[in-house]
Symmetry: C2
Subunit: 329 residues, 2 copies
Amino acid sequence: MKIQISDLRQLILSSLRKKYAEEDAQSMTEVLLFGQLSGKTSHGIVRLFVGNSSILSQNPTSKPQITTQSELSSIITGYGNPGMLVGQIAVKEVIQIAKKKGIGLVGTNGTNTSSGCLSYYLEKIALENLIGIIMAQSPPSTPAYGGIEPLFGTNPISFGIPSKPRPLIFDMATSAISFGAMLKAKTLNQKLPDNVAIDKHGNPTTDPEEAMKGATLPFDNSYKGAGLAMMVEILSGLWTGADFSGLNNKGGWGNLFIAFNPKIFMSENEFKDKVSLLLEKMRSSKTKTGEKVRIPGERTLDTRDASLKCGWIEIEDHLFQELQNTGVK
Amino acid sequence: MKIQISDLRQLILSSLRKKYAEEDAQSMTEVLLFGQLSGKTSHGIVRLFVGNSSILSQNPTSKPQITTQSELSSIITGYGNPGMLVGQIAVKEVIQIAKKKGIGLVGTNGTNTSSGCLSYYLEKIALENLIGIIMAQSPPSTPAYGGIEPLFGTNPISFGIPSKPRPLIFDMATSAISFGAMLKAKTLNQKLPDNVAIDKHGNPTTDPEEAMKGATLPFDNSYKGAGLAMMVEILSGLWTGADFSGLNNKGGWGNLFIAFNPKIFMSENEFKDKVSLLLEKMRSSKTKTGEKVRIPGERTLDTRDASLKCGWIEIEDHLFQELQNTGVK
């Protein structure tokens, strides 16, 4: 069905208000809407209800708090609050530190849900004329290279780069398939692509159900993809005090937000001009088919902007139904 | 032929002394020896002589200098000095900043040769109980995803993590094949693996000569591999004032050295214990064949240590010959 974005926003808010303070509900609504409007719907409103790690099934024991701090860094502990709420606090904090000091590092632990679309946070950072790198760690789903036992999360590593006329954003999972995409395939009764998952015996599978009992492969199915997954596990999980590789205890999921002020090496303007020049060169670079090279992240931001301009968006009927149910409960 | 490592060191030193100051020759010898002793021979003594980007063909116009500086960062300009010399200066600088401030960032530009095996620098950083990330950019060899025109270097991104009993090091090119491996295949008249390179028309090729006129593919041959290559190009090339994607002018190759003190989030001991725990879990994790999972970087350090213990190493006769020739010229 089609729904006006302003109505969708109100519905999400009304669902979240049942459980969270007004300010927190507002904050999470923005992250959820970004996923929904930009076409990354596996990070959209479905995250409100679906599974153990849904936003509405969380039972926070306290407000998120800064539990470790230095001049250049903070750890924010979530105390069971949703990743999207803690993510919003973390992104504000890292921007503030990097604006003041040139470099900022903010880790989070103690959440048990997705932080949402990392592109949302990276756009925010890059619009402040800062370079952003975010790594997000989640419970084990991907083995080490050569192994069949899940040790690392789907563990995205993502970058936001100030540019003209708008930021460049590159967001990738280090697993061959994201948990969201697997969940979607299962819900729609679809097969997975080849070479993205194994069953619990280590055999290739295209059945999402079998894959969920088994493991997602690292991307590239190589020591490279697996090594990057491991580094995200260490830097954003282990180092932030979160659980890692099924170890630690009640540390929750971890995230690492890094921001660099380009000014420490060159003026903001020079940096943005040069990035813009590079992107122009990419766009006009030769291809075999004559088709234009696509710039990472462009489709996501274009889709979001088109949705906002249109003012209406298509959502699945059952999601609308669930939203209404939770909103008025 | 077999040669004593102490003799090999003297030969390398004597070659380098013809062109560089004693201290600089010593410094580069260590990086070259690491490549040679650890089995990464494409980063070993071959780099002294082979090609335009060989160490002995450089004509530096000045000593390397810090040209931009903040409390947390430096840019070191190489003025045509070899990457391995500038790399040694950069790694010292980044360690010093991160020890004092918690985080350090050092960029380099103005070199026109490889910085050598990044594992060498990462081990140094991690042995100082710091987390290291190094990105190294070089002239275009890899296209954007969907393109056939080289825009990015082979662009490794590599990590060094303090652990017990020794550091964990993960070093990977973002291209499907490194320039060194391609050079080696050409020299030995061997074919390249499938799916690592294209000719100048964009067709797959396994001929190293055709590949050198064409392009190396990004690893995973996907938007992910290409996106990471682009990020290394931007962060370690564009941002440091080096040339990027065939743009800029006389900025040379770029590198970015990042060091984080784990202490900003948890004690060094807790960090190292946890990394060591994760590695144990990886080692003992299930595989389909029963073979043990390999830890990234272990083979490199094991090979280096075994070479040092043995005291002798095998080198190709023609390299020995060239070394002797350059040493006594």
